[in-house]
Amino acid sequence: MGIETELTIVSGLPRSGTSLMMQMLASGGMDVVTDAIRAADSDNPRGYLEYERVKKTKEDPSWIPESRGKVVKMVSSLLYDLPDSERCRVVFMRREIDEVLESQEKMLRRLGRPSAPADAMRRSFAIHLERLFRWLPTQPRLSVLVVNYNRLIADPRPEIERVVAFLDGRPDPAGMLTAIDPTLYRNRVSPTVA
């Protein structure tokens, strides 16, 4: 088994850099699975690179075979829905939680939808991630690489090298680097790197 026959997944909480990682892998020459249904907007000027069918993976995983060898974006909670037999490489994005929350709040406001208080969401996301990272090591079919968004923006090359090694050298690091635009790093709450 190798990267050509496995599904590569970019995962994480919304607004943690998953779209950026998708763009980086696309720029690095990897095929990304997207239907372009969710168009670019002010929250994601370069687009979301999402695939609607991943939302229904539990009921209908038939999109997976044709997506092997390619990259797809899947929000953290959907990882539980992957079929037990599916071998996947998961690039999991982590970002300072206060930046994630601020960005999500802005997006929800723009969409005219309610958001729970930040303290409650911070606690709930912490429990969600703690539970997920307890579960992931029990799934030998899922290889996981955690990439810190803040570190990636501050000093991209070492993080890109880690991703390239994790994906068997498949993406081109120079191409990946071209996708990083620090001017799109908004909702910054602290100059320090986690």
Binding site: K55, S77, Q104, L111, S115, A116, M121, S124, F125, R131
Partner: protein
């Protein structure tokens, strides 16, 4: 320390299970069970809130 009442039969089953599982007492087994249940309930509540947020953001249905 607070006291709770449980059915005598359940207490006997808990006593046997505690001995088999290596608990020092039935009290310890019950305290562990309550801790685990509280954690599970807390997780379920957190996951519900996360799901609501993700749904609002359009990432899940």
């Amino acid at each position: 320390m607070s006291k709770v009442q449980i059915d005598a039969n359940l207490y006997e089953r808990a006593k046997q299970a505690a001995a088999l599982a290596g608990y020092s007492s039935v009290d310890e087994l019950i305290a562990t069970a309550i801790e685990n249940e509280l954690k599970r309930l807390g997780e379920a509540d957190a996951e519900r809130q996360v799901a609501e947020q993700l749904r609002g953001l359009g990432y899940i249905e």
